[in-house]
């Protein structure tokens, strides 16, 4: 049973060994039939894996798939953009209205307007005769 590091055999057939490691391995192979056999098997497997059946590419189906997928993706994207634009407009309008309402609290004379409003209510609450306000009937 050989104790040689078998990973080196794999790296050897993949061309991933350093020159010095290649020399050491080749020296070892001269005297080890077990590693030679394994290396030969790996080379056969490597050849089989490199020479698998050619893959038939379904060009038309792929083009169809690409077309339908990107059609859907683009449509969904632009629809969502439109919806989000409407939502954005709604949001901006709502916020500007809220800001306007808030600004009312800081208006100079806001208290006066408020008091005037309540005074008017009180005045109206007394059920005044409108004639008194608009003057005598001609």
């Amino acid at each position: 049973m050989c104790n040689f590091n078998k990973t080196l055999l794999h790296e050897y057939i993949d061309g991933e060994l350093a020159p010095l490691e290649v020399q050491i391995l080749e020296e070892h192979l001269k005297s080890c039939s077990e590693c030679r056999k394994e290396l030969n098997q790996l080379k056969i497997l490597d050849w089989d894996l490199h020479h698998q059946d050619a893959i038939e590419v379904p060009y038309e189906q792929l083009a169809q798939l690409r077309k339908s997928t990107f059609d859907d993706c683009c449509r969904e994207y632009w629809e969502s953009q439109e919806t989000s634009n409407l939502a954005e407009v709604y949001k901006i309008q709502t916020s500007s209205m809220l800001m306007a309402v808030n600004y009312m609290h800081y208006l100079p004379g806001a208290r006066l307007i408020k008091n005037a409003g309540s005074s008017t209510r009180n005045y109206v609450g007394k059920r005044l005769n409108w004639r008194q306000l608009i003057g005598p009937k001609r």
Binding site: H10, Q41, D48, D53, L62, R66, K67, Y77
Partner: protein, 189 residues
């Protein structure tokens, strides 16, 4: 072959035609990668669709200073790895292996030696079935090594694995395949 930055920028603006220009030149290579991994047409098409969708969503994050193909290939590799492979997928994949191949009667009529054809076909089928039966991440490592001819370092960066792990994974995957082929008498030397 790499695509112009202009087309990628158009894709980032979500221009429909730009995606056709961008992907049409790569879809053949993408399909080969998916098919090599799944060994099944239907599953490959499912993954291809997933790749297209991911490209559409992720194109905004693509760094224009880098080449496009490695980025796209990484998306395809991740889509393959994430593809849910249940028993049904595996079952249909195994059943479909011979469906697209010509009948033996055509081989008899051709100039090729029938015996050689049967041996080559059997070997190819056994190798395919053996690769299909490999657990992850062995399958993807084998795919990247033999379809894309990637070096250990490239595989490591694609799969976010340490270099040593890639070496040992490839070594184990090949040992599994070698033992299976050996058991079936395909390793007579």
């Amino acid at each position: 072959m790499d695509i112009s930055i202009h087309v990628i920028r158009r894709c980032k603006q979500k221009e429909r035609e730009a995606f056709d220009i961008l992907l049409s030149s790569y879809e053949e290579q993408l399909y080969r990668l998916c098919f090599h991994y799944t060994r099944n047409h239907e599953n490959s098409m499912d993954i291809m669709q997933e790749v297209f969708i991911r490209v559409f969503r992720a194109i905004d994050s693509f760094d224009e200073s880098r080449p496009f193909w490695p980025w796209l290939k990484r998306i395809a590799v991740n889509s393959c790895l994430n593809y849910k492979r249940d028993e049904k997928h595996l079952y249909t994949a195994l059943e479909d292996l011979d469906m697209d191949k010509p009948d033996l009667i055509n081989v008899i009529a051709s100039h090729h030696s029938l015996e050689e054809e049967i041996i080559v076909r059997d070997t190819g089928r056994i190798i395919e079935e053996s690769i299909l039966a490999l657990p992850e991440p062995y399958r993807m490592v084998i795919t990247l090594r033999y379809l894309e001819n990637m070096s250990y370092q490239e595989i490591a960066s694609y799969l976010d694995l340490p270099l040593g792990t890639v070496k040992s994974t490839l070594c184990r995957a090949r040992n599994i395949l070698r033992k299976q082929c050996q058991a079936l008498g395909l390793m007579e030397v």
